[in-house]
């Protein structure tokens, strides 16, 4: 691989040059592997040897015993799960839609070829995207619970805030990669900036954006299932209630319900994305 790459680049390379390049590269790679190994050793020492209280964990059979508490399904819980499951599903749907709505200005500002005033709006949109993606959904939910109170609304806002980054980043890339010709055509017909966006850019990027949104929706189902941890309703709340009452088969039941919901989402997403393309 390396030999061909070097050969094709410059003709007057001598054999010793090639050998020197390769040994230099090998030395770098060797240093990298050693560094990675040292990091692994250091991390294992810190986490598994120093920080873990092996006496508390006990022997292997004791671990198996505590795992076996989780085996089983609490059938009495299933009727109570239907409402929260629907709630989780709805939080994911509405959150994704709201995320899409607040994405529109972010896409407009964040795509280099359509941003209205580059020095200000472009960095602004990029900062918003990074902010949204780097803060975990639990933290978003905490912020929104303190702003709008407990309940599904905080969950919806958290999901929307968290989806903004991914949708806006991928969609802005799609807008940057459009075909320029329709834009020029609309410009030549005397269309203003708004008309260019509506008739030349939007039809081109719509299928891509829809695909991204469906993908994000599928992830959001999974996310909305844990927002109950900070008081934002849904299946997460039932999960923590079962956990706190030490009803371990109930915990397994809730996890299976989440699994089924995610499965439905994944199948829907798979087929609808296929239909889009």
């Amino acid at each position: 691989m390396t030999v061909e790459a070097i050969d094709s680049k410059a003709a007057p390379l001598k054999l010793e040059d090639i050998v020197r390049n390769r040994t230099r590269k090998h030395r770098w790679h060797l240093a990298f592997y050693i560094l990675a190994l040292v990091l692994i050793g250091w991390s294992i020492k810190a986490t598994i040897i120093d920080d873990t209280d092996w006496e508390r964990i006990g022997t292997f059979s004791e671990i198996l015993k505590s795992v076996s508490q989780f085996i089983g399904i609490d059938f009495g819980l299933i009727p109570d799960l239907l409402g929260p499951t629907i709630e989780t599903f709805m939080i994911a749907c509405i959150g994704t839609l709201l995320g899409l709505v607040i994405c529109i200005p972010a896409i407009w500002f964040g795509a280099l070829n359509v941003t209205p005033f580059k020095p200000v709006t472009y960095p602004l949109a990029r900062i918003a995207m990074t902010l949204s993606r780097s803060i975990h959904e639990i933290v978003w939910a905490l912020i929104f619970v303190s702003a709008v109170g407990l309940g599904a609304f905080a969950g919806i806002l958290a999901i929307a805030a968290r989806s903004l980054g991914f949708i806006a980043k991928m969609s802005a890339e799609a807008v940057e990669n459009i075909d320029r010709k329709p834009v020029e055509a609309i410009r030549a017909m005397g269309g203003n900036n708004f008309q260019v966006m509506l008739y030349a850019i939007l039809p081109q990027v719509m299928p891509v954006i829809l695909g991204i949104v469906i993908f994000e929706w599928e992830i959001n189902i999974r996310r909305s299932a844990v927002l109950g941890l900070v008081g934002a309703g849904g299946l997460g709340l039932v999960f923590f209630r079962q956990m706190h009452t030490f009803n371990y088969p109930g915990v397994t039941t809730v996890i299976l319900a989440i699994f089924c919901l995610v499965l439905v989402g994944e199948i829907t997403s798979h087929y609808s994305r296929k239909a889009l393309i």
Binding site: T47, I48, D53, C93, S134, A147
Partner: protein, 281 residues
């Protein structure tokens, strides 16, 4: 566009009003739109969401940030204990992603339909396992492991391992399913067994892509690692939880700020590393 051409051919026979969607498509299109709108309205009603609160939210959020969170308590995050927890978080993410990637290489191999060693047994099992790991959120894994193993970094590492397996396993499988089958067939024709097919036929083709995915997995696992401590699994999350519970808003703001900075740094490192790897192809 094609419809437009068709219509222009017919237009001399019948003069028709141009519409973007013709009869059956337009019915589906508007039907789906109507269904979505009805669903939204019904779910807003079901979830008891007061939409009028949406309009004041930016003002309220701004107020909240300015009055309660504003001067972040920078001294708090310079504390040695807190710096130690940051290092713990990095270690947890590193180990979790590493174990997860090691497991998901095999899982991805089993779950790729074209080279799976046994299509009847291993393929569905690997698929379902990947799905299960993916569908359970990392916080739930963390809670389960904390219940079984107690507080500390080990449950965090295991939770992140599960998370990384779910994340990377699917991407690995998709990547392996997209390879050229020529090499695989050549090695099969030479009498290579499944392991030899994987090592000599599949790995050389997907090496670069898998490295890129692995780096990205580390990045995502680090983001998850900043909060798994929330339920007692080690790292910065525990500090976050404690300060949120004690309503120490200035300290919370400082912690959020530090998380943000770290995540941005890790994103830069991961983007640089992925770029380097794809160039070294």
């Amino acid at each position: 566009m094609s419809q437009l051409h068709q219509m222009s051919g017919k237009s001399d026979a019948t003069k028709r009003e141009w519409s973007r969607f013709k009869y059956p498509q337009s019915l589906y299109k508007y039907g789906i739109t109507l269904g979505v709108v009805l669903f939204i309205i019904y779910s807003l009603h079901y979830l008891n969401v007061d939409l009028s609160r949406l309009f004041g939210i930016f003002g309220r959020l701004g107020d909240l940030l300015a009055n309660r969170y504003y001067p972040p308590d920078i001294e708090y995050i310079k504390d040695a204990d807190y710096i130690g927890s940051i290092i713990e978080t990095i270690q947890m993410a590193y180990l979790g992603a590493l174990f997860g990637i090691l497991i998901s290489i095999f899982l991805g191999w089993f779950a790729a339909y074209n080279v799976s060693p046994s299509r009847r047994y291993l393929y569905p099992v690997a698929r379902v396992v990947t799905m299960l790991f993916r569908s359970v959120h990392e916080m739930i894994w963390a809670i389960l492991f904390v219940t079984i193993l107690g507080f500390g970094m080990l449950p965090g590492v295991l939770a992140l391992t599960m998370f990384s397996v779910g994340f990377a396993g699917k991407l690995f499988a998709e990547e392996i399913e997209a390879i050229h089958m020529g090499e695989v067939e050549a090695i099969r024709a030479m009498g290579g067994n499944h392991l030899q097919v994987f090592v000599y036929g599949v790995v050389p083709q997907v090496r670069v892509a898998l490295t890129g995915i692995a780096i990205y997995t580390w990045d995502v696992a680090f983001r998850a690692a900043t909060v798994v401590g929330f339920v007692g699994a080690g790292g910065m999350g525990w500090y976050l939880k404690r300060n949120v519970m004690q309503i120490e808003t200035h300290r919370t703001a400082a912690i959020l700020l530090s998380i943000l900075i770290l995540v941005i740094i890790s994103e830069f490192i991961s983007a640089w590393a992925r770029n380097y790897v794809s160039k070294a192809k």
